[in-house]
């Protein structure tokens, strides 16, 4: 253990001994598709995010009858993220919510522990802690997950570590692992769930790229019908704005919702179109 600490300390502090350049633009924005990326906002910068997810494109609820999902709205999120210092971001958002849990306030804090450099530091390591508070009135049905006997029952937390590496100019890969805790769940479900995932970006050009994002939840009770969220996206940078267009089986837009609560299945046509628009401001 001592040796490990010594090696880690040497790795971290040796980064200051030789000239190194930070590897930037691993991802275009602070999110890969819906989950966080290791990208941080510069100090005193504000990012405004509007994100939408529509209804099922295919399957029983999709097709022409609801114009391939465009007539339905799965979730919508408006959020602000702010760089307090170069290594620390905070954010606050509001989602429509999905399923039983609606009217969600969400917040997060993200800290960049390590930053990939051209020499010395091969990866970026980032920690994100986020919380969701559904503020809709509690259900009168005491068997519902939204009956919330106590106020604290409303909260859902997700803590995750993001390990990111940019390979050359075009490819970025991120691996994430974390723990999600819903304070109040159905009696057949588990409050705490471990999960791990991977996401990536391939840039065709300076301003166009494709994205993917996947998360797997471990140890979910067999009685729970759930799917792992899988998304594919296309990003467009315009200088100031970042547009991400994506297809996903997850209905939610916040990691506290779509990681533990995705039930739609790609193979049943239960995937949807979504998009996000990010705009950065200097304050």
């Amino acid at each position: 253990m001592k040796r490990l600490i010594l090696v880690l300390t040497a790795v971290i502090f040796s980064s200051g001994l030789i000239a190194q350049n930070k590897i930037n633009e691993t991802f275009a924005g602070t999110r890969v598709i819906n989950n966080h990326s290791s990208e941080m906002l510069p100090k005193q910068s504000l990012e405004f995010i509007v994100a939408h997810k529509f209804g099922d494109i295919a399957g029983a609820a999709g097709g022409l009858s609801n114009f391939y999902g465009f007539d339905n709205l799965a979730d919508v999120r408006i959020a602000f993220e702010y760089g307090i210092i170069d290594n620390l971001d905070i954010g606050l958002g509001r989602c429509k919510g999905v399923g039983a849990r609606t009217q969600l306030l969400d917040g997060f804090a993200k800290y960049s522990i390590l930053q990939q450099k051209d020499t010395g530091m091969p990866i970026s390591l980032t920690f994100v802690s986020s919380v969701v508070l559904p503020y809709a009135s509690a259900s009168t049905d005491s068997t519902s997950v939204t009956s919330y006997p106590k106020f604290l029952n409303r909260f859902i937390f997700t803590n995750q570590l993001l390990v990111t590496k940019k390979f050359g100019e075009r490819i970025s890969i991120q691996v994430n692992a974390g723990y999600n805790h819903r304070n109040f769940v159905d009696f057949t479900d588990k409050n705490g769930l471990f999960f791990a995932g991977a996401s990536g970006r391939f840039r065709f050009t300076k301003t166009l790229g494709i994205l993917f994002e996947y998360n797997h939840v471990f140890g979910r009770p067999a009685a729970i019908v759930a799917q792992d969220p899988l998304s594919f996206g296309f990003e467009i940078l315009t200088g100031g704005h970042t547009f991400a267009l994506h297809f996903s089986n997850g209905r939610g837009l916040n990691e506290n919702i779509f990681i533990p609560g995705t039930t739609s299945n790609w193979l049943d046509g239960q995937f949807r179109f979504g998009f996000s628009i990010n705009r950065r401001f200097k304050l």
Partner: protein, 347 residues
């Protein structure tokens, strides 16, 4: 006898006092002492002091002596946009003065601030190649925001053309899209400018001209002023170009120049992590391929378009990019820049 002697002595003293007063008020010294002084000390004399010695009319922004405290505060405002002690808010949240202006000489001959001369000197001294004039010697200029600046700022340039105070304020509120500077802030910046004004040793005299100048200083102030002023540029001028890629027959672009302009010009603001612009650039093939692909477009991604037009502040997007006028980048240099981008994109 004694009375007569004392009367003559008093008269002589009065005559001498009168002459002494005249010498002082005219600002000139005796031929002998002045020549000696000039030859020994001239190199370190500031241009404004030399002009003052020659009775040249003082400009509105004239400052006799630099106040170290004011100059320090002015330097902080220029380099950090606010005082380091946090007692003031940032002048502009978008830009610092140093994003567009250097603070050192940009040419080995202040009479020639042509982009060719500036590039040559900048390469030798590793100085950023920026779209606005250096602050070094700004104190010695007499006219600002001339030429095509009126196309961009309209009547706002009129009060700035002969008043440095107003020129600084226009730069703060329009060019950097910031707040109005307070009087003491502008005065502090003036003191900073005064501290980095041109010195006679910065000017390029040959030995004959220098001899003439020192001689004129004691005999003909008008000619001395004329000669001195011919040795540096007093006007900040600008002529804007178009987005058209220049065509210069027989010109062979220089990749070395282009690389310097890209790295010390474009990347000065657009480098990733600088957080000055909304569109980051780097020196990778991916970026150069993108810029090459857009070179003939009529939009902000086209190098010739964005360099010559810049962007304009619009409602909802106040931050913008200043353009390089012909005074700051020649057509040949534009071709050098585009040649470097093409070379990096295709290598």
């Amino acid at each position: 006898m004694l009375k007569k002697f004392s009367q003559i002595a008093l008269l002589l003293i009065l005559i001498l006092a009168l002459f002494a007063f005249n010498w002082k008020s005219s600002g000139t010294l005796s031929t002998y002492s002045n020549s000696r002084f000039l030859e020994d000390k001239l190199a370190d004399v500031s241009v404004s002091y030399a002009l003052d010695m020659m009775n040249e009319e003082r400009p509105l922004h004239y400052i006799m002596n630099v106040s170290d405290d004011s100059a320090r505060m002015g330097e902080e405002l220029v380099k950090f946009g606010k005082l380091k002690d946090g007692s003031t808010s940032r002048i502009s949240k978008y830009f610092l003065c140093t994003d567009c202006h250097n603070q050192q000489l940009e040419t080995d001959d202040p009479a020639d601030e042509s982009p060719e001369r500036v590039l040559e000197y900048s390469k030798k001294n590793n100085i950023p190649f920026l779209p606005a004039s250096t602050f070094y010697g700004m104190f010695n200029k007499e006219h600002w925001y001339n030429g095509d600046y009126a196309k961009k700022y309209g009547d706002l340039v009129k009060p700035t053309r002969d008043t440095l105070f107003n020129a600084i304020q226009l730069c703060a509120t329009q060019c950097s899209q910031g707040r109005e500077m307070e009087d003491w802030e502008i005065r502090s910046v003036m003191h900073y400018y005064k501290s980095i004004e041109l010195k006679v040793c910065d000017l390029k005299f040959n030995s004959r001209e220098y001899g003439e100048f020192t001689a004129y200083m004691s005999s003909n102030n008008k000619k001395a002023v004329e000669l001195l002023k011919s040795k540096y540029n007093q006007i900040n001028d600008a002529h804007f170009g178009t987005s058209e890629i220049p065509k210069i027959e027989g010109y062979e672009p220089s990749a070395e120049n282009g690389e310097f302009i890209y790295k010390q010009g474009c990347l000065h603001c657009h480098a990733v992590g600088r957080n000055i612009t909304n569109f980051d650039l780097d020196d990778t093939k991916l970026t150069h391929k993108f810029l090459l692909a857009k070179k003939n477009k009529y939009n902000s991604f086209s190098v010739s378009h964005i360099t010559r037009y810049g962007t304009y502040a619009i409602s909802g997007r106040k931050q913008y990019m200043p353009m390089y006028s012909f005074e700051n980048m020649s057509d040949e240099q534009m071709l050098d820049l585009m040649f470097y981008i093409e070379k990096k994109a295709t290598e």
